[in-house]
């Protein structure tokens, strides 16, 4: 199967990435990035998407089109800059509600984070805009990604949002590894792998008696995801 062969094939991408380069990626490809990536999570989304504040950088898409769901381990270096230690993603599914507007407002076409997003987000939000999702590996390869950050280009809203939520611009080189979760058709590696795992789950419970006391508000179908 062509799909299976795509897994673990290495790709290197320069940011901002062209629509063609993005469309060439397939679920399971291992990706390394060069250029600039910016962080944005709920603090930044709240400002830009909900409160409609202007982006701190004019023509963001010409600088980069990669949004990293990340809070770096960063500290002031005493010389006006920052020391970046480890770099790790945070779970992306929580940001689902902001993404359509965010992609439209910023031109983000590569979303990088932990654990991917729901199939619906890929089909209805990312894919129609030519956007893909890259997941960090592990999680997470904080030291490897930290090595890939060559400089902090700028940081915005640091006072208001704190180190974890501020908008950081990183100059990166050979920044990775990441795995392609969703492609521009909305296919998802996590979904495909999850279905394979699900096939064996019922058998694990065979013969185990049900609990004496049940609980409200939960699923008993273990094929479900809890996102």
């Amino acid at each position: 199967m062509a799909e299976e062969r795509a897994e673990l094939r290495q790709r290197r991408l320069t940011l901002p990435a062209s629509a063609e380069a993005i469309a060439g990626l397939e679920p399971g490809n291992v990706v390394y990035l060069d250029g600039v990536v910016y962080t944005a999570r709920e603090g930044v989304y709240q400002k830009v998407v909900v409160e409609r504040e202007a982006l701190p950088v004019a023509d963001l898409a010409s600088v980069s089109n990669a949004n990293f769901h990340c809070s770096p381990a960063a500290a002031p270096d005493g010389k006006g800059g920052y020391v970046i230690g480890g770099v790790t993603a945070t779970a992306s599914f929580r940001f689902s509600k902001y993404l359509a507007d965010w992609l439209d407002l910023t031109g983000t076409r590569i979303v990088i984070g932990k654990g991917g997003m729901g199939a619906k987000d890929y089909k209805e939000v990312l894919a129609p805009r030519g956007a893909i999702y890259l997941t960090t590996v592990g999680y997470g390869t904080g030291a490897l990604l930290g090595r890939g950050v060559k400089a902090v280009e700028s940081v915005h809203w640091l006072k208001e949002l704190g180190i974890a939520q501020a908008m950081w611009f990183f100059r990166v080189e050979n920044f990775g590894p990441f795995l392609v979760d969703s492609d521009t058709a909305g296919n998802s590696l996590f979904q495909r792998q999850g279905e394979l795992v699900n096939a064996g789950i019922e058998a694990l419970y065979a013969g185990l008696k049900p609990p004496a006391l049940r609980r409200y508000g939960e699923t008993d179908d273990r094929r479900d995801e809890l996102l």
């Binding site: 897994e7 673990l8 399971g28 291992v30 990340c70 809070s71 770096p72 381990a73 960063a74 500290a75 020391v83 230690g85 480890g86 770099v87 790790t88 945070t90 779970a91 932990k114 654990g115 991917g116 997941t135 590996v137 592990g138 999680y139 997470g140 390869t141 904080g142 030291a143 490897l144 990604l145 930290g146 090595r147 704190g162 180190i163 974890a164 590894p177 795995l179 590696l189 996590f190 792998q193 999850g194 394979l196 795992v197 096939a199 064996g200 789950i201 694990l204 419970y205 185990l208 008696k209 609990p211 004496a212 006391l213 609980r215 273990r222 995801e225 809890l226």
Partner: protein
Amino acid sequence: MIAHEQVETAAYEIMKKAAIDIPEDYLGGVKGMIDLETGDLSSFVLKSMVDNWEAATEDRRPMCADTGLPRYYVKVGNEARVAGGFCGVEEALRSATARATHDVPLRPNRVHPLWRTEHNNNVGINAPEIEWSFEPDVDWIDVTTVHKGGLFGTDYRMLFPGDGIDGIKRVFLDTLIAFGKRGLACQPAIVGVGVGGSKDICMTLGKQAACLRVVGDANPDPRIAALEQELKELGNRIGMGAMGFVGSSMVVDCHVEVGYTHTGGMPVSVHTFCLSSRRATARLHADGRTTYRTDPKWFTPYMRRETIGWPRSEPSSASAG
């Protein structure tokens, strides 16, 4: 007498070591799993993690940027004396947390739960948590720090005696499957299971089992040790590996700790540590030396005692009569 500064310096050092250096027992456990892993993607993830741990140690940078919730476990020898007393120890641990947060650097994760305000130093109300235990007949203090991720991979449930081992297996499978999807639990991990106690202590025991016992360690009760082994194998039979990809690498080791509980109940908690398994221990000796290790040696026979008393060792000079 142990000096206040000795506590602060040791706590600062273990904060750094925990953040940067993967414990050997866990590294060995994961390398063993790579040899058995047949899932290509899961295997790729584990090899990337090994590369990451090497990079962390080489560069002296954190393995993971999510500092989790840095916290402490302190075991105090019954004969130990510390300058400034134990409030002084707590102050030293808070100071070391703030200093290491800035210097390593660690991500300042701690915020007020309601107002989301922070001090950018991982210190605040009830943070870092400091848990205390005691050890008879010794004059040292062990300080362990654990930086465990805080969001996924833990669950608690009140079961009943009739639910039996089947019930424990269900909660165990439910937790690993629920949080193992997409690898939110950061597996393969050391999994701790707390059984019994009051509800809060059930959580505490399971958490300590995951974070304070090393790979390869077995509970001294042979029947509990057998349950640990059975749960480990069950977890690795789910068919899920690293990041929730097809594979067999889910549980690096399983540790069960128990506490006497209500006659009508059997509370169970399950906790997954993570792919960084950040823990480091310092022993503060009475003569001013500090030694470092990665095995917290938290669950001593004294901790697991079942009786009212504990046999006291008599000082040799007093036993002559």
